[in-house]
């Protein structure tokens, strides 16, 4: 039980996918123009993450090692399709807000990364809990970004007006540059907190966390250059 609690909680703070591991940057920047779409994106990705983690973990002894990445992609893409259909049917306004980013959950590196790093090696229950923790961490980070951008950029929070800012919104926050800016400042704040606690700063480890890392030649040439 204590182990499961640890698997769950690591994804929220210590290994937060967005703020500590710097994964899934595309949806983080693109879907946080409002709190509503940020939460929608977070939940959609979390559902896919938990379901695909469960299935991949259950099939981990059946899937041959050589074709595991394509197999993982098929499992993930199936769940994305299911979520996509459900959102289209029940929440059409959310579907419009998320647009192309909903099908693009397929290539979200958090999901493929968890499949490769955790679900492919661990039992079903632990994988489900790991997916849930990572999903909550992802949703929380998106909520934080979405809240900052909506409050400053539109002067509202979940559609209700915020005093003063409502009449003077700073539009730049919900435009693309605002996304990069808020994420940068948030990373600086998180790094500062991490340093105070004696933890390393979050660096762009996109490549190391990438499921293609082992076959990727850029990393090989980088390593050779380092040696």
């Amino acid at each position: 039980m204590a182990k499961l609690t640890k698997e769950f909680s690591k994804g929220i703070i210590a290994e937060n996918p967005v703020l500590r591991l710097v994964l899934g940057t595309c949806p983080t920047l693109a879907t946080t123009t409002s709190v509503e779409s940020a939460i929608g994106m977070g939940l959609a990705a979390s559902i896919v993450l938990v379901c695909s983690n469960i299935v991949i973990s259950a099939l981990r002894k059946v899937i041959p090692d050589k074709v595991r990445i394509p197999a993982y992609i098929v499992v993930i893409a199936s769940f994305v399709t299911i979520v996509q259909m459900a959102v289209k049917a029940f929440l059409p306004s959310l579907d419009e807000q998320l647009g192309v980013y909903l099908p693009l959950i397929v290539v979200n590196c958090i999901i493929l990364g968890r499949a490769e790093a955790f679900a492919g090696k661990n039992p079903v229950l632990a994988s489900a809990v790991d997916g849930l923790g990572m999903g909550v961490g992802f949703t929380a980070a998106l909520f934080l970004m979405g809240a900052v951008r909506e409050i400053f950029g539109a002067g509202t929070f979940l559609g209700t007006g915020v005093p003063f800012l409502e009449s003077n919104p700073m539009l730049i926050f919900i435009l693309p540059p605002g996304g990069f800016f808020v994420y940068g400042i948030l990373m600086a704040a998180v790094n500062r907190l991490a340093e105070k606690k004696g933890k390393p700063r979050a660096e762009l480890r996109g490549c190391e966390a990438c499921p293609m890392a082992q076959s990727c030649a850029i990393r090989k040439t980088d390593k050779e250059a380092a040696e």
Binding site: L104, F181, A217
Partner: protein, 197 residues
């Protein structure tokens, strides 16, 4: 007709830049833009794969999926086709055109899981583009990716020699710099509508 195609091309490069306005392909944008030559190589490979992926997925979508009412399979079919295509291209290039393989080959595996390639294919379908329009929009998206990568590589080379406050070093300052480059692209708003007027 030509006018329309060029307006699609320019929109994809300037006003709706894939990286800086649509946030697709952020990982390579932040990860591979440290040196100018890798940035150029990576972007060239992206343009090549985007054009090829569009050329292959367009007929599959039109003559296989839409005809049989299987549009809901688009996501799963496109990602598998792109993944298989990239592998195939890698093998063919390695065997028959080693010069091109040496220039682009090392970037190919990285592109399979790049959201920009799947993104452009899905966007073309969503917009209801015909074949020529799809090709122009894909090449434009690739060129826009290259423009953003090359510009940002220049910015980052400058950043290397700057004295940055400690708490902003590394990723935070990179993101803020990306924000400023993105502001500069906001300046293109409205240019495409007026350039052909």
């Amino acid at each position: 007709m030509t006018k329309e195609l060029f307006s699609i091309l320019l929109t994809a490069i300037l006003t709706q830049n894939f990286v800086l306005a649509k946030f697709l392909g952020i990982c390579p944008f932040l990860g591979v833009s440290k040196k100018l030559n890798t940035a150029v190589g990576m972007s060239a490979a992206v343009i090549f794969v985007m054009a090829l992926a569009t050329a292959v997925t367009y007929p599959i979508n039109k003559f296989l999926l839409v005809k049989n009412d299987l549009e809901y399979l688009q996501t799963i079919v496109f990602i598998l086709v792109i993944a298989a295509l990239v592998q195939l291209v890698e093998i063919i290039l390695k065997k028959y055109i080693p010069a091109l393989y040496n220039a682009l080959g090392i970037y190919l595996p990285l592109i399979t899981t790049n959201c920009a390639v799947l993104g452009v294919v899905i966007l073309n379908v969503d917009e209801g583009y015909n074949f020529a329009q799809s090709m122009f929009s894909s090449v434009g998206a690739g060129l826009g990716f290259m423009l953003a990568m090359v510009m940002f590589a220049g910015v980052r080379e400058r950043l290397e020699s700057c004295d940055i406050p400690k708490f902003m070093q590394g990723l935070p300052i990179t993101l803020v710099a990306a924000s400023l480059v993105s502001v500069s692209f906001l300046g293109f708003t409205g240019i495409v509508e007026n350039i052909f007027a």
